[in-house]
Amino acid sequence: MSEAFEPRIVGFLCNWCSYRAADLAGISRIKHAPNVRIIRVMCSGRVDPSFVLKALALGADGVMVAGCHPGECHYIEQNYKTIRRYGMLKHTLKAFGLEDDRVRLIWASAAEGQQLAEAIDRFVQDVRRLGPLNWPRFWNEDPARLAAVEKMAAEHAEAMEVPA
């Protein structure tokens, strides 16, 4: 067996589109990298950013979040919330000193088995290029980083807005 680095990736897939796309990839026997381990959630909107951080902290080298295409969420518009959280998450990762490419948000309709398989392959390749994630190794007290955290919070104040 070759010694190439095989990343461990956790994938959060929504029940309605992307999980079914993964099923369809199976039904159509579309071979793809075995690295993404799938957790089913009802909607990409259920993916609490802390799940992603938890996965990375517990040894995942990357995390994929997949949902229905914007405008096609089974719950009308929840994946737009996912988009906002994803942006926030990327900032958070950078603030932590991690490569933000370790998380990826993708869309796949229930008919897109092929597209999902390709997206998985691409992501696995990209994470393989980044190498293993060793979170503690990345962490140090860096003023620039702390500033990034502040900035992130400010930029996303709107997402946390309270209705009047």
Binding site: M1, E6, R8, V10, W16, C17, Y19, R20, A22, D23, A25, G26, I27, R29, I30, K31, H32, P34, R37, I38, I39, R40, V41, M42, C43, G45, R46, V47, D48, P49, F51, K54, A55, L58, G59, A60, G71, E72, H74, Y75, I76, E77, Q78, K81, R85, S109, A110, A111, E112, A117, M160, V162, P163
Partner: protein, 669 residues
């Protein structure tokens, strides 16, 4: 007390076992995953023996949780939940883990596949231990059903339900029901008259005491869920009062404004500005086409008003919005024709005597613009030779990959009609002849005997540029005859393009309203392509007819009846169980920040100003979990997908990473 988990690894014949070492996985689970009391592998877990195995272990081994590692939960979750129930275990204490679709069917090597299966099982065990017993919520099924689309499939569904005594609301977009079948003269393979078999069904549906028909209407909005949908229908203004109109047609006769009929007559005939699409239209109530009406456009005329004795003309009529409660929805919105202009080398729209299949249907229809005479575009010359080109826009990577399923048969039907009515030579240019239903091959043989010519090959070009003697003034079909292995040029007077059946332009939009998805091409996706062809992934929404894929009338009718039968089953049962996956807020911990309030697209979260807390209205919550992920206090729980369960799943799925890091073995989970 520690849980006792049973793990069952399915071979699925060789579907899983061919790529995953199921035996090793089962052994590994027993030895390495904590709280696994029983772990077995078996040929077919979903078989009755497999289910019995689980039931027996629950009883004898005292299992408190079950994990089935097999196919997708979308296929067999219900099966294994039922098995658990049978043995007295709450069905929500079972977790499936998808090692077929997500592992064995997509992996290329055995070792990584086996390792992936272990991860998924480890995750499922970790999760299932934290699952809680739940009771499905019971919802009463409103016996009224909404059928969208009044083609033959929708009519069949409507009549089946209405005859069984249940109320049906039929919504049809055009001014009359009937769909495409109303435009045909004869139907293959029996050649019975389309109108003769269709119109009785149309009037029966209209007159049925259990049917409410909204024609010239569209479905605007759907909310709620199975058993209790709320729908909003927009009934467009006809400018004619249905309660007063007697259908005499005096208005139509006297209307001075003639318009090319691009709908029913596909551009070959005329109608008036006030019109009924065809004489047998149901309902027999005209519509004013406001865009072409002289009164609406220029403020003069009102002739129809003067002609109408009962005074039914109402120029000020407004669209009407109708809101209804229904228990189930059947979509039967059919198909639309491929735009043959998209293949310019076939000359449609440029060469006068190139017709589409739907144009030809009208040409040979006794009630059509030529009273059934097959003539060229000049309206009088009978063709002496006709070419029929198959697969125009189907089986073509540039347009539609699918086979339209009916064109070969329709081409044979046309061949027969041309031979019968004109005695012209008829050439069919086909790729493969597909006549695979009852009596279809026999019909093909009949046409071979009747003298229709068959040339196998895709047509390259249709041109009026004569190159050889005998080609002047003709349309020349250039094609490679793949049986003879040479190029041929065949001059003819008339060409019929067998345009593809395509999904309706708004299929996706309508599907989204009802929460169902389409294939890449745009056909509605059924729950299972073989075993559940009319149900969809959204409970209470069914599909029938050509909106699910190109098909002929018998298949459309069969699906209409099947969808109706499924709905009747639900009505008879009276209640449906819906997944108890909903959010709830622990009011003790809620700070009243209201962040969750605008997360919910269903307005299922209300704010109690008095107590400064938010509350989920369970009946409105659909369980997406977005608010759960948003609550900064972490006090919203999404049942069956709570933080603890998903957290455990994450830990479990990464068991090997933790094992590698030496931070405690998998047993810790």
């Amino acid at each position: 007390m520690a849980e006792r988990v049973g793990v069952y690894v399915c071979h699925c014949g060789s579907n899983i076992a061919g790529m995953v070492d199921c035996e090793a996985v089962a052994r590994w689970a027993k030895e390495n995953v904590s709280d696994v009391a029983v772990s077995r592998d078996y040929k077919f877990m979903c078989s009755s023996l497999g289910q019995a195995m689980i039931e027996e272990d629950i009883r004898k081994e005292g299992l408190t949780r079950v994990v089935v590692a097999a196919c997708s939960p979308h296929l067999h979750e219900k099966t294994f939940r039922r098995a658990c129930s049978n043995a007295g275990l709450n069905p929500y204490l079972m977790q499936m883990c998808n090692i077929r679709e997500h592992v064995s069917w997509v992996a290329q090597e055995r070792d990584p596949a086996t390792e992936k299966a272990k991860s998924l099982i480890s995750a499922a065990v970790a999760r299932v231990k934290r699952q809680e017993p739940l009771e499905p919520m019971k919802v009463g099924v409103n016996p009224r059903t909404l059928v969208v689309g009044g083609g033959i499939a929708g009519l069949q569904a409507t009549l089946e339900l209405a005859d069984a005594g249940y109320p049906v609301v039929l919504v049809e977009r055009s001014p009359s029901i009937g769909g495409h079948m109303a435009q045909f003269d004869k139907t293959f393979p029996t050649l019975d008259c389309s109108a003769c078999i269709l119109t009785p069904k149309m009037s029966e549906a209209y007159q049925h005491e259990n049917v409410t028909l909204y024609s010239y209407a569209e479905l605007e909005e759907v909310s709620g869920s199975v058993g209790a949908f709320k729908v909003r229908i927009r009934k467009r203004a006809r400018s004619v009062r249905e309660d007063l109109c007697t259908g005499c047609g005096a208005c139509i006769e006297k209307c001075p404004r003639k318009v090319v009929d691009n709908d029913f007559e596909v551009g070959l005939g005329y109608r008036k500005a006030i019109y009924m699409p065809f004489p047998q239209a149901v309902p027999k109530i005209p519509v004013i086409d406001r865009e072409n009406c002289t009164w609406f456009q220029r403020g003069k005329c009102r002739v129809c008003e003067k002609m109408c004795q009962p005074g039914a003309i109402d120029y000020d009529q407004q669209d009407e919005i109708i809101e209804l409660d229904v228990g189930n929805i059947i979509l039967a919105t059919g198909w639309k024709l491929f735009d043959c202009r998209k293949i310019p080398q076939y000359g449609y729209g440029r060469l006068a005597n190139v017709f589409t299949n739907m144009e030809f249907e009208r040409l040979c229809n006794a009630a059509g613009p030529t009273s059934g005479k097959i003539v060229l575009r000049d309206g009088k010359t009978e063709p002496r030779s006709v070419a029929i080109v198959h697969c125009v826009g189907s089986r073509d990577k540039n347009h539609n990959e699918h086979c339209s399923a009916v064109c070969c048969m329709a081409a044979l039907k046309f061949g027969h009609l041309v031979l019968e009515k004109t005695g012209a030579e008829v050439y069919s240019f086909y790729i493969d002849m597909r006549t695979n239903q009852k009596m279809y091959e026999e019909f093909y043989c009949r046409l071979l005997e009747e003298g229709m010519h068959f040339i196998r090959g895709r047509v390259a070009e249709i041109t009026d540029a004569a190159r050889m003697p005998g080609e002047e003034g003709k349309l020349i079909i250039q094609c490679e005859d793949t049986l003879l292995g040479r190029q041929r040029r065949i001059p003819v007077d008339m060409v019929i393009l067998m345009g593809a059946l395509e999904p309706q332009a708004d299929a996706k939009e309508l599907g989204l309203k009802c929460g169902i998805s389409c294939s890449m091409a745009g056909w509605y996706t059924e729950r299972h392509p073989k075993l559940d062809p009319v149900a969809t992934m959204t409970d209470g929404v069914f599909v029938a007819g050509a909106c699910q894929g190109a098909k002929d009338i018998p298949a459309a009718v069969a699906q209409g009846a099947a969808a109706a039968a499924r709905v009747m089953g639900m009505i008879t049962k009276g209640t449906v169980e819906i997944e108890p996956v909903v959010a709830s807020i622990d009011e003790e911990g809620c700070s009243g920040c209201r962040i969750c309030n605008n997360m919910c697209p269903y307005n299922a979260i209300e704010y109690d100003a008095g107590r400064n807390v938010s509350r989920v209205i369970t009946a409105l919550c659909k369980g997406c979990g977005t608010c759960v992920a948003a609550c900064p206090a972490g006090v919203i729980t999404g049942s069956h997908f709570n933080n603890e369960q998903i957290g455990a799943e994450i830990e479990g799925i990464l068991w090997d990473a933790r094992a590698a890091a030496g931070r405690g073995a998998a047993a810790a989970v």
